[in-house]
Amino acid sequence: MTALLQLASVSVHFAGLKALTDVSLEAKRGEVKAVIGPNGAGKTTLFNVISGYVAATGGAIRFQDQDIHNLTPHEIAAKGVRRTFQNGGLFGEMTALENVLTGLHAQINSGFAGLLFGTKAACAAEREALARARRLLGLMEIGHLADQPAKDLSGGQQRMVEIVRALATDPPLLLLDEPAVGLAPPVRDRLMEIIRRLAGEEGIGILLIEHAIDLVMKGSDVIVVLNSGQKIAEGKPEEIRRNRDVLEAYLGYT
């Protein structure tokens, strides 16, 4: 299977700080790849550089055989790389449904004039998006939350809505930045189950930052380990469990 996303020796150096150095990795359709590492290892910077929020100072990033290196965040998202945010990126003032509708923005092809005059075509496009947004929430079994303001939802529900919103336009690649943080264990397990299902049934490529090692060991196909901005290991969960460098980085073994 060809890679969806390819990073070839990507570096991000801020003035004096080497956030990422020569990181190469791939993401494939239908594969859950976890990125782990101690605090400050460069995991979020890796996501930010892929999704265009931080510029790479070296290396190449290709998505579906197109260079996405110099594109802006919205251009990269429009190509089909969607992400969630560590601190929750939901629009708190909007309902769950409106959040998902905002995710469907690009699929509503009404022009400015159509929207201004509220033409029949524009209204039909809006209704179609509305129906799709409701269906998507229903598929994730959170249809009953549609009309709740996002800020009133629980942490787990917010995470789910954010994933539905990110996936609204069927993107091939999804980046999840610590989706399970702060969730109760049963909710965490259920979330992981859904992530597995998205990869297995929908064939979505998933990159996942996660701190909970038990979850990562159970839920991912491949694990990438970062330490001080460098990739120190990549392999199946059981390989990573035995890797000396990883143990050193995590536990200080020498």
Binding site: T72, R83, L90, E93, E98, T102, H105, F112, L116, A166
Partner: protein
């Protein structure tokens, strides 16, 4: 009990139909039957301020940018319309459109400042300075603007029909306001409105959904400038003389108060705030010396006890006025 519920659901159903909005302008059609010319003038002024507030609220309430260039948009619209009527001999209805476009251009300028990363207090002070700079220009470009004497605006005509009374102006203004408010309402209820509110909430997350945030920031400012520019053109023919003093800092505070009293981020609130704060000062004028006190006290009371403005009453009792992104 049962009938009661049926009745309330019928009312509930009716009260959710958006077409009910048109009750407001249709009732307004009858105002001239009851109003003397002075009251009619105040009502016309309300219509001007409805657009002023709708435009301002879009930028500070919906987009959430602290841009205070509203008096600049208002003044530019007024002068552009007046100048085109005098020097190019355009009739009012023709001159009004370039008046709006001039406001839109000013809106574009303000949006470029915001896009350059100048936000919050910096954007506030730079847009305030823009307003004062424009006022300086109105005063000193006196060969065109007639300086502090003011620009005398000729009688407005619409399709050869002379607007020589407040009542005639009223019907034309009402038509313009209904059109512009409807268009703005349509925009706010569409993907454009969602994108604008999303940008206020979390700009990075908005971009992560493939939404070109910069374009929507520009769009919000340009539409705001257009709406307020149109209001300026109407103001010019309503007052008959455009003077620089009309577009100073006190005027800006009035615009700001209209948005806050009506309800930040609420279209219905913009309309209510404009009507209330145009009517009250006129009413309090009969209590000389106390008018500022009344005005200030009202402002303090509303912001203390109804921080979401008068629109929160509407949203509670009349479901059609509930708006997508404005919640009590």
């Amino acid at each position: 009990m049962r009938e009661n519920r049926a009745a309330s659901s019928l009312w509930g159903h009716l009260a959710r139909d958006r077409r009910l909005f048109f009750v407001v302008p249709v009732l307004a059609l009858f105002i001239p039957l009851f109003a003397n010319p002075y009251i009619q003038f105040v009502v016309n002024l309300m219509l001007v301020y409805v657009l002023v507030t709708v435009g301002f609220n879009l930028v500070i309430g919906n987009l959430g940018q602290l841009a205070f260039a509203n008096t600049a948009f208002f003044g530019i619209g007024a002068y552009a319309t007046g100048i085109l009527m005098i020097y190019a001999g355009m009739p009012f209805w023709v001159a009004l459109i370039p008046g709006g476009i001039a406001g839109a251009l000013a809106g574009f300028l303000a949006s470029v400042t915001a896009l350059r990363g100048i936000r919050l207090y910096y954007l506030a002070i730079i847009t305030l300075a823009f307003g004062e700079l424009m006022r300086w220009i109105y005063i000193h470009a006196d060969t065109v603007t007639k300086g502090t004497d003011g620009l005398p605006v000729p009688m407005a005509t619409v399709f050869g029909f002379v607007l020589d009374s407040e009542i005639k102006k009223f019907y034309v203004f009402l038509a313009i306001v209904v059109l512009v408010v409807m268009g703005t309402s349509n925009l706010l209820r569409s993907r454009v409105g969602r994108a604008i509110v999303a940008i206020k909430d979390n700009e990075s997350a908005t971009a992560s959904l493939g939404i070109p945030t910069a374009q929507y920031i520009v769009l919000a400012f340009v539409w705001s400038g257009f709406v307020v520019g149109i209001a300026g053109g109407m103001f010019a023919v309503l007052i008959g003389r455009v003077v620089p003093e009309s577009f100073g800092l006190v005027e800006l505070i009035v615009h700001f108060a209209m948005v806050m009293v009506g309800g930040l981020g609420s279209l219905a609130g913009s309309v209510l705030g404009a009507i209330t704060l145009t009517a009250l000062p006129e009413y309090f004028r009969s209590f000389p010396g106390l008018e500022e006190m009344f005005f200030g006290a009202l402002l303090v009371l509303i912001l203390l006890f109804r921080p979401k403005g008068l629109a929160s009453f509407l949203a509670r009792y009349l479901p059609i006025f509930r708006e997508r992104f404005y919640r009590e």
